[in-house]
């Protein structure tokens, strides 16, 4: 499913704003959104999923305005994974997965119990099966991120938006999760927000960049991953080296 943003503008009461957001995301490749702290990446994600209403412009899902979707229709099509982890009630790991994916299951009855196998399969894919009965609060940050991804894998939404899904993962798990997401992106629309330069270097789909002066650019990653653009977005000198294949290696000057 195609996710498009047309001229999105949004301002908070304290005058912070994002403006002129134009974006067009299709299945095939993983898409990236990056930029310095406080530039408004999360705000854009919240606009794209309809949580915040834009002051002007609109978000379209296959040419239909997201505002016209009912909450439950939207929840089946679009999944989002946020960074905040403020759960005080103790759901177990298994319960949490089935709750995250509950838009898939009917309200009454125990259809969700019949999906036991699917849930177990996704839990084992993210190496959480042996922790299925543990309370979510006992998980580490990385395990929690894997849990949220397992939930999304069960829900299997057409569009998946993720806010720094690899921030707490160790390098091995980060690579596994990225493999999973790249594969998932082949026939689903996936956008991730990240600060990880190694990941950015792998970007081949759409890259959207936002700097802290409110400038937004988006385009093909191959064109935007260069020293001039990255230095201006992050406000510090960047070096971009092409490596084997289509990837590149990015780093920022330590002494600035």
């Amino acid at each position: 499913m195609l996710l498009r943003a047309e001229n999105l503008t949004f301002a908070y009461k304290n005058s912070f704003m994002v403006k002129n957001i134009n974006l067009s995301l299709a299945p095939g490749k993983l898409h990236y959104l990056a930029g310095p702290n406080g530039a408004g990446k999360s705000t854009i994600l919240k606009l794209l999923c309809g949580y915040l209403h834009p002051a002007s412009g609109k978000v379209l899902l296959d040419e239909n305005d997201i505002a016209n979707f009912s909450n439950s229709q939207r929840a089946e099509i679009m999944g989002t994974v946020w960074q905040d982890r403020t759960l005080d009630l103790d759901f177990s790991v298994r319960e949490m997965v089935s709750i995250i994916a509950s838009a898939r299951f009917p309200r009454w009855g125990t259809a969700e119990r019949k999906n036991e196998e699917l849930i177990a399969c996704k839990l084992s894919e993210f190496a959480l099966l042996d922790k299925a009965k543990q309370p979510v609060s006992t998980l580490s940050g990385g395990e929690y991120q894997r849990l949220m991804l397992a939930g999304m894998a069960v829900l299997a939404p057409e569009i998946l938006l993720l806010d720094e899904p690899t921030a707490a993962l160790d390098p091995a798990w980060r690579n596994k999760v990225m493999k999973f997401l790249e594969e998932y992106a082949l026939d689903h629309t996936v956008l991730i927000v990240t600060h990880d330069l190694e990941l950015l270097g792998r970007a081949q789909g759409v890259l959207a960049l936002l700097d802290d002066r409110g400038n937004f650019i988006s385009g093909n990653a191959a064109e935007l991953l260069n020293e001039k653009v990255l230095s201006s977005v992050y406000g510090t000198a960047a070096t971009v080296e092409k490596t084997a294949g289509k990837n590149c290696r990015i780093y920022f000057d330590w002494d600035q």
Binding site: Q73, W82, L87, D88, F91, I99, S102, A103
Partner: protein, 315 residues
Amino acid sequence: MKKNFFYRIILPLSALAVVVLLGIASGSAKIDWQNFVHDPILELRLIRVAAAFVVGSSLALAGLLLQAVLRNVLAEPFTLGISGGASVGAALAITLGWHTVCALALPGMAVIFALLLLGLVLLLSAGKGAESMLLSGVIAGTVASSILMYIVSVSDRDDLAGLTWWMLGDLQVVETKMLCLAGGFLLLALFLIRYFARELNAVAMGSLNAWSMGVDHRKYTLFFVVIGSVLAAQTVALAGLIAFVGLIVPHLVRRFYGGDHRYNIWPVGVWGGIFLILCDWLSRVVCRSSELPIGVMTSLVGGSMFIYLLNKRRG
């Protein structure tokens, strides 16, 4: 599946049957079983057991709702200041002598004041999230209890005894009409909460996650808080202030039945009722000459259980 059926249906229902029999059979007066159809004591006991079930079940469900919405396992019906408001209303009804004029004046005032205070709390914390609501509730409850203390300090000696009993919780003089009304609302609430259990799960996961799950967080927060408050207020109207049931029962049930609200609504409702019937029975058995007030009993039982659980968890 069989094991599931046992834990969800057989076990709670047999426990309920046992405590109902206990509740009916024991007490200071003897029931005339030869002529039980016309026995007034049996009738009184039945009403009392039914009242204990409705009150316990409502309190437990209200606790479950508020804990999910406020995302705090220590929240209970009384944390939002609902009890404070209800007690001010009831105390006013007693000191003004309205309860002698109309039997429904006391419960009516209790419910009205509970909802008034809830409205105030919601107004104070509008759009500011769960922590703000919890804090506003604590503050409103403290203010209400000061007002209550003032009312107590200026009331007559005659009113004082009734007021004190009521503040300690009392299942003895329950209005049958009021009981039927409360029972009806309890059933409705059970049905509604089960139907919207998915939304309750989503609300418990916070605003952003709820949105991702297709749930309007603000709308459903209000919905669940109002249901929880009416449940709590109706127990205050029926039986005065009974602490700890809303805290301990959801806590225990979550341990055994899990935290997913799609599967723990019914157990919370039933075990809440069982718990209060049991406490009521204990209060009559432990101290035969003069009954312990039920509120004191639940605090003793619930409080010690809670401390035990906390220690066990740490150790």
